[in-house]
Amino acid sequence: MAEERIVGIDLGTTNSLVAYMEGGSPVVIPGEDGSNLVPSVAGLDQNNQFIVGNTARTILIEHPNRAVYSIKRLMGRGIEDIQDELTLFPFRVADDIKPGEVLRIKLGHREFTPPEISALILRQLKKNAERFFGSPITKAVITVPAYFNDAQRQATKDAGRIAGLEVLRLVNEPTAASLAYGLDKKRDGIVAVYDLGGGTFDISILKLHEGIFEVLATNGDTHLGGDDIDNLLLAIALDDIAGDLKLDLRRNGEAIQALRKAVIETKIALSFKSEAQIEVDLPQGHRYRRTITREQFEQLIEPIVQRTVAPCKQALADARLQPSRIEEVVLVGGSTRIPRVRALVKELFEREPHSELNPDEVVALGAAVQAHILSGGSAATKDMLLLDVTPLSLGIEALGGVVAKIIQRNSTIPASATEHFTTGVEGQTNVAIHVVQGERELAKDCRSLARFDLKGIPPMPAGLPRIEVKFLIDANGILHVSAKEQRSGKEAEIEVKPTYGLTDDQVEQMILESFDYAEEDFRQRQIVEARNEAGNILSALEKGRRNPAWQILTEQERREIVQRETALQQVKNSDAYKTIRGAIDALNEATMRLAELMMDSAVTAALKGQNMDNTGLEGGPAAAHPIAPAEITKD
């Protein structure tokens, strides 16, 4: 099979996964630590190297300023619409962001856009897959919440590009989950997928017919999930601590992260126990402990759980279905493990929901199925085809700031609309068009997607030019626009200003920078490794001095060694990699004969039946040159 492997990626708010199709079934690819889930946390270690996943999570607790989590919440968003987020999440946004600009988040002393931070997570998944297959991976299917708008989708695609992945398709998470379920069921009927994850909620209603997965309606809330429950518990704990211990921890990043970890554990425990404790050590030797019963917990989270009801009802109404027509309900996302959530889903759809597949993994498994379909498929995926919809209506701002809808929500994608525009003033050569996404009447209440400037219209009397603009939403749910002046037949030039997105040039720049960073990271690692190596050889030499072999060396040889030893000690803590490396090599060379002599005495000792421990040689005779460890190779 010469065809390159395409992987499926679930880029989640809390955890991310990469999966592929093995034979007829999808499988999650574990990371180096053996775990299927890679926590969506990116951090910088003490050597300023990027780290992602479980190791980054430790940094988050010890040095909150050097790690970022839940970055998905900021994808494709502007400073003006994340004010709520900022009160609840410790994002350190750059100080000079203006409304309409792409956000930049501080990580250590550097600043990164949300797509760049997501790219770090994607790069880790890519690396895990490459390690697993032993070959490069450059193509992927990535899942997004069904209710993601154009800007959020574009940002996800940009993240893929920055990570060195060609994103062949963005698939909606609930739809991906239905693919994973549909693979072994293959039954026709109407299915609802209820997906409550760490940061987003989606509901999708699908019609399954002979392998066609046709989405009838989708709805959701891109800022609703387990994170919100954690924040409620966190607020209670902080209030308790402020009241009882007179300790205000709101500005104490480390303590907050420790508490956050504790409340998450409590939340998880409450899914299978009737009560659980929040227990955590605090600064100044204090200790916080509180018991929460499931009843209290359910009361607390009820408002959050209730927020999923309206989207479900809207989706049913849009699909023109009564709840009783839903034949199966599938649960996706870690938050659907909460018993209260399950009970609510059962009430809403009047049937017991399915959760046979691990709700943390089912989306990634579905992404792998879609990746397999795109790569040509096999008997397992034969006849499977996904027909998805756009979650939000697309409109253009008309006179008076009202929105004229041109593509309705829940239209099957790809979908298109053609609109005609003209000029209002004689000789006018450009026309501005404002494209928005959303269901509200006024453009200012919808999501601004982009402003298009139609340029180069031939000068004509007002109202005479006839500019045909074609809007096309592709299979990824991303908008494309093209325009033509019909009277002159001239292709009008379009200048696209994405409202919150990165331009192509910016993405290209970030791809280059990510190589620069990689270079810098590599240099940093080389220095660290050279220092370690210097430490090893110096301590080996220390031992060598006590070996009888030392006495066999000539005065000249010993002097040479001591000289080079001093030289290495002087440079080993500098940042000059080549100098350290040179000093190591020089000392290695000088100690070559010492090493040989030590080896001989070890062999002799062994032949005489002496215990190896007494030879003063560690590592045994297998180590050819005990003073010099093996060369470090660039990986």
């Binding site: 066609i212 085809l385 006179l399 239209s411 099957t412 790809p414 298109s416």
Partner: protein
């Protein structure tokens, strides 16, 4: 003429092998062909009739989706991917319009040169420019009822401002709602009769002057009917709003 039973476009030379290709694919080499500007009925190979076998339409939608969808062209050239996306968007747009009876009728009338949407949008725009409320022509047979309904709605609003609740008005509004819902149903049956007439005219073509005249007559009837329908739908929306916000 445009209103003849639409055939798929006559064969064109395939861009890849030069053989004669049909609308979507080349019969010789199987390659996907460039996007053409065809109407929604033609995409499904249907005559421009208003009665449609919905089960057959769905089957054909699925069958064409299985051939044209971008998922099947992920490994093809950029140009073929673009055509696949273009063709699938045409297919989806067509299916969406044809499966809904009102959207289908509106689309057919547009093909016949009537611009219902644009009429309405222009009216909205000019009303907004002049600051006036959008004037809608009240269908003459509804004048009296609409007048009465507006009085009731106004009274309801006044009451609400005063914090009062008059059960009589709620009852009147409920009655009005029922009446207008009945009218919607009547209009739908009337539309069905127009469809029958229209569909019967299609096979006759429009060569003969009397057939051409019949078409124009049925067409204008349907335009009038859709306008009345959208007028009543707006009324119903107002009534429902008044009743639910109570």
């Amino acid at each position: 003429m445009a209103t003849q039973v639409t055939q798929t476009a006559p064969g064109i030379a395939c861009w890849s092998c030069g053989q004669t290709a049909s609308q979507h694919f080349c019969a010789a080499c199987g390659k996907i062909q460039p996007v053409q500007n065809v109407d929604y009925f033609a995409i499904f190979g249907l005559p421009r009739k208003l009665h449609i076998d919905m089960a057959a339409l769905e089957r054909e939608f699925y069958r064409l989706s299985r051939k044209l969808h971008p998922d099947l062209f992920a490994r093809a050239t950029a140009r073929e991917q673009e055509w696949s996306t273009g063709k699938t968007s045409q297919l989806n747009d067509a299916y969406r319009a044809l499966k809904d009876p009102i959207a289908r009728t509106t689309y057919l009338l547009e093909l016949e040169g009537v611009k219902l949407e644009e009429q309405s949008r222009n009216a909205t725009d000019s009303a907004r420019l002049s600051g006036a409320e959008k004037k809608q022509v009240v269908p003459p047979d509804l004048l009296e009822e609409v007048f009465e309904l507006n009085m009731q709605l106004e009274e309801m609003r006044m009451n609400k401002q005063m914090g009062e609740d008059d059960p009589n008005i709620t009852r009147d509004l409920q009655a009005a709602k029922q009446k207008f819902e009945q009218k919607m149903n009547d209009l739908t049956s009337e539309l069905q009769r127009n469809w029958n007439e229209w569909d019967a005219l299609i096979p006759r073509g429009e060569a003969a002057p009397q057939d051409r005249q019949s078409r124009v007559r049925v067409r204008d009837q349907m335009v009038d009917l859709l306008n009345r329908r959208s007028y009543i739908r707006n009324l119903l929306r107002d009534v429902n709003e008044a009743l639910t916000s109570n």
